[in-house]
């Protein structure tokens, strides 16, 4: 697909709102463990049976403590790791069907912003070259056109004046500028979907808000679908409409940002919120220190509800036996907890 087509497709009026841009169905990302380099020794079940939809033009946040499988989920969505089971449908098509060509085409429509901005930029390339790479891969042969788009995207992320930065190397930029370049690179091909994996967690507190505001602006202007990953609940209000709470490889609560912040249902979500004295405070304590107990092993996760060893509300004889399904407690508010089995039925 040429760049022209990509652009057209991005703003095509034929886009049906009813079909979600991305659908994840029963996704399992299991990393195989090997003994002596070849004997099977079990799996790390980093993502285990995750299902959700990402509507067009909407921003969602995935929140969870460190090691719960957020990055694995994102890598699977980017097609960087092969799912053990389940499907990832982009515009209705399984990204793994159709071979390399289809995967390349899919990747043209997805942008990726990583956690460590310096690590995400090849240190031996100039900013100009870094931004040109995705364009070269999109088959844009015209040097002037590439240059024009590089400049435009630097302006968009407010790395100005662009001419001062084109020939610089990443280490000559500040962390915030580096992350802006990463964002520019993710946006330069006008993707439909942006995946931001903890985009501000390695930045100084002072530039975090700016970067989050920039992402929000871009999302609004471009009508982008965004998946924003964080372990810091205090940053989500900047732009996501919906929050998915993830725990030990599973999504345990899916609701609007407002609902999660004001009316959380899952006991783990309560713990998350309690962890932030003022949920809207910018520099709230990181949640990972607070919930009592240890996050469970992903190799041999607890049976039943994975949160039960840490849950104060656990229902004896049920929670440690049966995996809770998602109960809908309100429109657009699902929770995987046995506490809501009646409420949902009602």
């Amino acid at each position: 697909m040429s760049e022209q087509q990509v652009q057209e497709a991005a703003f095509s009026p034929a886009e049906a709102q009813d079909q979600p841009l991305l659908s994840v169905r029963h996704l399992k990302i299991w990393y195989e463990l090997k003994r002596f380099g070849f004997l099977h020794a079990g799996y790390v079940k980093a993502v285990d049976d995750v299902t959700f939809d990402l509507p067009r033009g909407e921003a969602i946040a995935v929140v969870g403590e460190s090691g719960c499988g957020k990055s694995s989920l994102m890598k699977a969505i980017l097609g960087l790791v092969h799912p053990h089971d389940g499907q990832i449908l982009f515009e209705g098509k399984d990204i793994w069907e159709g071979g390399n060509a289809a995967m390349r085409e899919y990747r043209m429509k997805v942008g990726y912003v990583q956690q460590d901005p310096y690590g995400a930029l090849p240190p031996f390339m100039t900013i100009r070259r870094i931004l040109e790479e995705p364009l070269i891969l999109a088959g844009i042969k015209d040097k002037e056109e590439r240059m024009e788009r590089v400049i435009r995207s630097l302006e968009e992320v407010k790395v100005t004046p662009p001419s001062d930065f084109l020939n610089k190397y990443p280490h000559m930029l500040s962390g915030g500028q580096q992350q802006r370049v990463v964002i520019a690179r993710a946006l330069i091909r006008n993707p439909k979907m942006l995946i931001a994996d903890e985009p501000v967690s390695m930045l100084d507190a002072s530039v975090r808000v700016e970067i989050l505001k920039l992402l929000d602006e871009v999302q609004q202007e471009r009508h982008l679908s965004v998946i924003y990953i964080t372990h810091d609940l205090s940053t989500v209000r900047y732009f996501s409409k919906r929050i998915f709470v993830m725990y030990a490889g599973k999504l345990i609560e899916k609701a609007s940002t407002y609902e999660i912040l004001h009316n959380p249902k899952h006991p783990y979500s309560w713990a998350l919120l309690n962890a932030i004295s003022d949920p809207l405070a910018e520099n709230a304590t990181k949640l990972r220190d607070i919930p009592p107990g240890e996050p469970p092993s992903l190799i041999t996760p607890p049976p039943g509800c994975r949160f039960h060893p840490r849950c104060q509300k656990a229902i004896q004889g049920l929670c440690e036996v049966e995996v809770p399904p998602h109960f809908s407690v309100a429109p657009n508010h699902d929770v995987a907890c046995w506490l809501y089995r009646e409420e949902a039925e009602a």
């Binding site: 890598k75 980017l78 097609g79 960087l80 390349r104 990747r107 043209m108 997805v110 990726y112 990583q114 956690q115 460590d116 690590g119 995400a120 930029l121 090849p122 240190p123 031996f124 100039t126 790479e133 995705p134 891969l137 999109a138 020939n167 190397y169 280490h171 990463v182 690179r185 091909r189």
Partner: protein, 463 residues
Amino acid sequence: MGFLKSFFRELRYYPSAIVGTLIILALLSLAVYAVVAIPYHRAVFLWRGTSDVWYRNPKMVPPEWVNYFRSKKLPTTVDLDSRQQGLVQRNEKKLGKGKQIDLTYTFNYTADEFPPEVVLYFYPTYASKQPFVSGEWLTPDGRKIRLGNFSVTSGYSFHVGQDKDIARRLRRMLGVDIPPGLGLFVDPASLPKDTSQPVDQKALRPLKGRYTVHISAITFGPQDDIQAELLVYGGVHGIAGTDHLRRDLTVGLLWGAPVAMAFGLISALVIGLATMIIAAVGVWYGGVVDDLIQRITEINMVLPFLPILIMVGIFVSRSLWMIMLVTIALSIFGAGIKSYRAMFLQLRESPYIEAAQAYGAGDGRIIFLYLIPRILPMLIPGFISAIPSFVFLEASLAVLGIGDPVLPTWGKIIQDAQANAALYKGLYYWILEPSVLLMVTGLGFALLGFALDRIFNPRLRQE
């Protein structure tokens, strides 16, 4: 290219790097000069030394500059050829059907040592009867020594210094037994008074001054002619001296430079790049590809490198290119694979590689544009330091007798010197010259390599 600029800026702060660079530049210009001044085929021809190219050179003599360090100066070669204008006085007169040709050679002898050889080369042209020649040697103090009478065929050479008849005449004149090569030049005052004792040759001094050699030839046909060349060989030659085949070592030493540079640079470059590419491919594709590369490397690393090279040299070909090919083939899957692999394994996990994959960079692009450029700067110091080891390898093989059969190389010069017992004979220059060049080459690359390592590696650790 800002990278290169800053690199050169930094290089200035390392004096060793500057010295190393200067040495390398000097060697490279020497190499270029050699190839331009003496084209390949000419070099091979000269070094073969079979034809008459080198007969005017003395055999196994040190370079001329040794005279600066000696109190007793060695002579330089006197070459008087009647075929060349103005060197030899020539008189002709008709005699019967033929001619009488008188050739007078004069030269000034100022050295403190005797010349190693004196030879007369004759170039007659005759229809049927060979010209008849007689010669006479005049010393500066006016003594006359008859050299003899003989008829000359073409290509005839008369070794004055070894002639028995001249020896007899000298004994009659000087009263002692003395080789003619010495007797023709000796200062009678330096001869022992007691003539019954054998002559102590070390005590003899040559007589300095003007020597004259008269050659008188009679030809018999109307078209017949004769030319003759007097060679009083010197005890020193050129800027590098000569070897056992009278070859001027300058040719070999000069040509040794491009050969050594080519061998070292090509081997180091090809091995370095190939190793890196293979390591990157293995790490990137992983699985069977990586396993295969690892196993080949492990097997290759236990193969006996030198014995294989020697076997190839004996049974296949000793050509420099063949040896280089085998060296490269055996070194590609070497220890380098393991160390590059470790670096690539780490690099493979870096976020920028993941990002590149996510925006659709293919395997080839990632290997060549993302993985390799990242560790290339780390490779450069090692690459520079590896060059001399290949230069030394070539020299060692040459010393072991696996040198290129036609090309002159520094190693082959050392081997010739060794085969001719140069050290035993005190011909130190013969071994020292190529050895010094080898050592200087090693030093130059080592100095630069070490400096580069210091420049590149701290920066890489910072990044």
